[in-house]
């Protein structure tokens, strides 16, 4: 959501300015960008609820509805119903106030809307300059022309747009740029099927498309995916919470498959090699992609593609959370939130193997059974009881040494309450929303340590990533962690997988099949 506010002072009495502005169909006669306008259904211009349909001088057609009009406060509010530009959720208010010192008028024009992230600046400029400031100048021109004399604001104020003409009028609403599009395939190159995030938003922004795929460049390999992992980080990059993806672009950071082609200057990989990866840049939700091979993991025969795509990112995450972020010690007591989820199940099993006592939270009885099977010492169904109280009861008032929390907003306060003195909160996700602002001083009451690890900072070089991959695959081979077969969705139906994951309808991992 962005806000645009522009304001000016018109050198005319407030009633004169208001007479012009309160006519909801009147912009046709004063705004330089508006070519024609009608009120639909012959409704009155001051009937709240009336809809004006208008065309700009450059041809774009808009519909706006009057939401409120007050002659007492001299305000009017309206919203956009249809437009050729993505001014989503646009609601605007015009407000006039008298300047008693000089019988002039203060005019404020403000709006809120939710532009696609990539067009934010352009659309804010369009609204503030081409609509609001151009409107100020036009009304000033009309009123100061009709009231000649020494009251003018300054030489030439507003004169330039008394006679708006199509070539110079500020009407740059360019309908041809209304929708971003992934570069169309060039004829010389191949294409591949992919899921494209058109703009930041809900699962519906995931579109199944042909995208351009050039041959691998120097230092790149091309991979034909077999399975693609679905992770919460994909949701955060889709909706814009994390700055990982700039639409339009292909999401996804985890997949397995075969090397199909190798560019110049690539050593160590050849066509036919089985590989997997769990790293940026995004681009995994595609049949094929090119990428640098530094962070590719070679798969041995006992690790299936399906298993690698389902668990590599989660396994590496669990590994660095337990070994680097808060190095777990035998006999630690820990709490794992969302323990039936992909990372959650790995944390429970692995922490048990390392000698910890593991308490876990889940949302349902069914999920509690799964987590018990994974070896948790005590499972709390957080909708039935306060998990912080349950932890204190279980530990005789001592609290947990560490809490692994990827739930975020809903659990953060409880997690702090559940910690022992000198405990650590590992906040590694925000499935329920950002945790907001907290007073660091309050942590002193228990000398709490909080960490907020970012996946990339623990995995962005082969040196950092390698030990976690080896450790995780070793844990799989030795049966220290068991990964259930993931739930399958066709790649084209990635939106469905996102919906299920966001609505907590899943346990374990999700993969897209290619």
């Amino acid at each position: 959501m962005v806000q645009v506010t522009q304001s000016t002072v018109i050198d005319a009495p407030i009633d004169e300015v208001w007479r012009i502005l309160r006519d909801f169909n009147g912009h046709e006669s004063w705004h330089p960008a508006v070519a024609t306008s009608v009120i639909e259904g012959g409704a009155r211009v001051d009937a709240v609820g009336s809809v004006r349909r208008f065309r700009l001088r450059d041809g774009g057609e808009f519909r706006e509805q009057l939401l409120s009009l007050s002659d007492a406060k001299r305000t009017l509010t309206y919203c956009l119903l249809e437009a050729p530009v993505p001014l989503m959720g646009y609601v605007a208010t015009i407000r006039l106030k008298p300047v008693t010192d000089g019988d002039r008028t203060f005019w404020e024009w403000r709006s809120e809307f939710s532009p696609p992230a990539t067009r934010r600046d352009e659309l804010m400029r369009l609204v503030s300059d081409d609509i609001y400031n151009a409107g100020f100048a036009a009304v000033r021109g009309i009123l100061t022309r009709s009231r000649p004399g020494p009251g003018n604001l300054g030489p030439g104020a507003g004169q330039a747009i008394l006679v708006p003409d199509a070539s110079s009028a500020p009407t740059s609403v360019d309908a041809s740029r209304a929708l971003p599009s992934v570069a169309p395939p060039r004829s010389a190159d191949a294409t591949t099927k992919a899921i494209v995030v058109e703009r930041h938003g809900g699962p519906e922004v995931l579109q199944w498309r042909d995208v351009h795929l050039p041959p691998p460049g120097p230092g790149e390999v091309r991979i034909r995916h077999t399975f693609v992992g679905v992770n919460f980080i994909d949701i955060y990059s889709r909706n814009g919470q994390f700055d990982l993806l700039r639409p339009p672009a292909v999401p996804g950071m985890e997949a397995a498959g075969l090397i199909e082609a190798v560019g110049r200057d690539v050593a160590g990989f050849a066509p036919g090699d089985r590989v997997a990866y769990a790293c940026p840049p995004v681009g995994a939700y595609a049949e094929r992609r090119n990428m640098a091979p530094e962070l590719l993991v070679s798969l041995s025969a006992d690790i299936s593609d399906e298993m690698a795509a389902a668990s590599l990112l989660k396994g590496v995450t669990a590994s660095f959370l337990l070994h680097d972020v808060y190095p777990l010690k035998p006999r630690d007591i820990i709490l794992v939130h969302a323990a039936a989820g992909g990372v959650g199940q790995l944390l429970v099993q692995w922490a048990k193997h390392l000698g910890a006592t593991v308490l876990a939270t889940v949302s349902s009885e069914e999920k509690a059974r799964i987590v018990e099977r994974r070896g948790a010492d005590h499972v709390i169904i957080y909708s039935r009881e306060s998990f912080a109280e349950a932890v204190m009861r279980f530990t005789d008032g001592r609290g947990a040494d560490a809490v692994y929390d990827a739930v975020g907003a809903d659990t953060f306060a409880g997690s702090l309450a559940a910690l022992a003195t000198r405990g650590s909160l590992v906040s590694f996700g925000q499935a329920s929303g950002p945790v907001g602002d907290w007073d660091v001083g309050r942590l002193a009451s228990k000398s709490i340590t909080i960490s907020r690890p970012n996946y990339a900072h623990y995995t962005d070089t082969p040196e950092k990533l390698g030990p976690h991959v080896s450790r995780f695959f070793a844990a799989v081979r030795q049966g220290i962690v068991t990964v259930d077969p993931p739930k399958h969705y066709p790649l084209a139906r990635a939106a469905e997988a996102h919906r299920d994951l966001e609505q907590r309808r899943t346990t374990g991992s999700l993969v897209l099949t290619v």
Binding site: T5, Q6, S7, T8, V9, K97, P98, V99, T100, D101, G102, R104, F106, E108, N133, F136
Partner: protein
């Protein structure tokens, strides 16, 4: 209930004007009518609830309580506890709004109060012109126009 509303345009950016007017103890610095001022009980002048006690150049004394102060909205609301004007339930708000076109400030000052009906006209005139507009005129002059 009587109402006074005065507004003006100050030729300076709103944050700069706010810096001058937000000081609840600063009337002698920027208005032509206040001679001296102090905050009772040594409270900081931006503590909500503090009381300013200031002397007028014509000799009267006024005590006013700070009810609200917003650095976000550039506004300040206060009530009169004691004054020579014999008004009751007097609450006033001074607010600044940026004028983006020209980088100036729209300044508003309004007050609501009760008084005997026969004195209303004179009090509205006295407060509107003698206090609020006089202060705004001084602000406009201070910022150069």
């Amino acid at each position: 209930m009587a109402k006074v509303y005065v507004s003006s345009v100050v030729p300076a950016p709103a944050p700069a004007v706010w810096q001058v007017v937000r000081n609840f103890n600063g009337l002698p610095d920027w208005t032509p009518f206040a001679a001296e001022s102090r905050i009772e009980q040594g409270a900081p002048p931006d503590q909500i609830g503090c009381v300013r006690n200031f002397g007028l150049k014509d000799g009267g004394r006024i005590r006013e309580r700070l009810l609200a102060l917003s650095d976000y909205e550039f506004s300040c609301t206060y009530s009169i506890l004691e004054s020579p004007m014999a008004v009751e339930n007097y609450i006033a708000t001074l607010a600044l709004t940026p004028i983006t076109d020209g980088n100036a400030t729209f300044a508003e000052w309004q007050a609501d109060f009760d008084c005997p009906p026969e004195r209303e006209r004179a009090l509205v005139q006295q407060i509107g012109a003698g206090v609020f507009q006089a202060a705004f005129s001084a602000l406009k002059q201070r910022f150069g126009r």
